[in-house]
Symmetry: C2
């Protein structure tokens, strides 16, 4: 059926009786070519299942139309490549990139290479890099920025950086989460997460601000540090209750997955949610509303965040500088917390 030696521009040109330049221009919809010839050639190409060789055009144009997306996992925890929130961001980025005619090359920070700029940009595997997550160390990211490669990072925009960071207003998120619990009547609110992590630390700040505003004393013992995984949260809350009893009536969790782990620990001990303890998460992953009770949470708008990230990356392709940007967060009040 199919002629096996692949059709090239030259072949198609011969078929049509025109030059390769004309076919090339026609397929790229260049108005230099008369409209009828353009359409004729495009039809001919489709008819013959012809598709431009991207390797060749990338070589010639020095442009790949590919963006590398790097999942910046935290090495020393169990935060896996399967973290639902991170993967949600990947999915949304995929949509946003496709919409702009770019493709997504997926990688993660556990791969061999450390020199991202060199590996992706210099090698012309991609035109730009989007890093998901600042992690605890940002040195690899800073190297990319220093090399001048187009770069956007998902993280906390309030953290000063010499590269564009897009992310939620984490401080505000922490604030309204805590405020919500206070309004619901919680007296002893625990903060559950990893305050050393960039975004989480901002959430913690907001948490403290809300407490202060309500005139509460800030008790460091109420900040429970744990890795941002369900399992770690489950274990933390379990041992906490076991050793100290139920000394709190509210939990601000730094992510929905953390909240999930905490909820399980509570339920196992027959602690009523929200009767005895109110809990609020962060992210609003798909699962949140399907938990029982449905999880109150602070929603991160990953869809528009993805669009903003892509937009900022495209600016850099045009030589314009990119800016950090904050996307709105929103309180989603569900059943896991008492309402005012």
């Amino acid at each position: 059926m199919s002629n096996d030696n692949k059709l090239t521009l030259a072949g198609l040109a011969k078929l049509a009786g025109v030059s390769t330049s004309t076919v090339s221009r026609a397929l790229n919809d260049n108005p230099l070519i008369k409209k009828e010839t353009r359409e004729m050639l495009q039809a001919l190409a489709k008819e013959n299942n012809f598709s431009l060789n991207r390797a060749a055009s990338r070589l010639r144009t020095q442009k790949t139309n590919v963006v590398a997306v790097i999942l910046n996992l935290i090495d020393d925890t169990d935060q896996s490549i399967n973290d639902p929130f991170l993967l949600k961001v990947v999915g949304d980025l995929n949509q946003a990139l496709n919409q702009k005619g770019y493709e997504l090359l997926l990688s993660n920070s556990l791969m061999a290479t450390d020199d991202w700029s060199n590996y992706f940009i210099n090698s012309s595997r991609a035109d730009g890099i989007i890093v998901i997550g600042q992690g605890k160390s940002t040195s690899k990211i800073e190297d990319v920025a220093a090399a001048g490669s187009p770069l956007v990072v998902w993280g906390d925009p309030k953290v000063a950086a010499n590269y564009a960071v897009v992310g939620s207003n984490n401080e505000l998120g922490g604030f309204i989460a805590t405020e919500h619990l206070i309004d619901g009547g919680c007296q002893n609110i625990v903060f559950l997460g990893d305050p050393e992590h960039a975004e989480m630390s901002e959430r913690h700040k907001g948490h403290c601000r809300a407490l202060a505003q309500a005139g509460r004393v800030i008790d460091n013992n109420l900040t429970l540090s744990c890795d941002i995984t369900s399992k770690a949260a489950y274990e933390k809350i379990s041992t906490e209750i076991l050793t100290k009893g139920l000394y709190f009536d509210g939990i601000v969790a730094t992510s929905d997955m953390v909240a999930l782990g905490a909820m399980k620990a509570l339920k196992e001990r027959y602690v009523s949610i929200p009767g005895d303890v109110s809990i609020i998460g962060f992210d609003d992953i798909a699962m949140a509303e399907l938990l029982h009770p449905a999880l109150t949470t602070v929603k991160q708008d990953t869809k528009s965040a993805a669009e903003v990230m892509v937009e900022q990356l495209l600016y850099q392709f045009q030589g314009k500088p990119a800016k950090s940007a904050i996307v709105d967060i929103e309180l989603i009040a569900r059943k896991s917390s008492k309402h005012a």
Copy 2:
């Protein structure tokens, strides 16, 4: 700091005082080149942040070292690009591919192009295609196979196909799931999912086989058809209980997400799990063990599945034929079901 006109092979060659051929071979670790020269040149390359231009080498070698992974979403349902199970498979594929020196180009079936073979392979964007999910229609997949492009599909291996399918033993999975509930004493077991979908249909077959083996009558009214999303499952079970009362004491759900939706519906009506109703899921996504009660489920081993898929794809790169393969499933008995 950095010289802005990019260093090329030729430039590096001049720097080293050798020919481009030598540098090329050295960087590709070709034993034709004396070991010392090789190491010297590799060191020089690293020193100068040199990286081979992939566009050029892909053009020359006609090989990309890229694999396109396509999320084959079901258009007319809400199964989103954020489905945790599908994304888990993507994550595992990413690992498996990287291990073999390949990169992952992520796409989904909602993008513009329909002719995957043409778009990815002919255009030399990728060397092969992995499709995740057979969906309800397999025409696009069959086109790829007909075009002779390297292809592996995640789906149900029992479905006859002229391409390599890797997947779980879904029939057996459905069987042991149902058997588990029967052993636990369930009398009226409901099957919840979409029996038209390839993989789910196999699970349904296994379900029926288990019932038959236990000497139960197979009542079609106990097969509840719904889209494979949590939301659909939640709604289905809710209205079912509302209109017909609690006429079942066991649920075989076709995925963990479906199970999650069902569990929520049950809990809202104060149906005890597993006291009144036992429930078993499918997949074993991370969240399953963190639900309350922890979800009994049939685990799909996506990690080794990903490895098998990559292996089968690489066979095709070498001109060898690929075979469909079945990966083992495993019953993970947790708290959402009564045990024998």
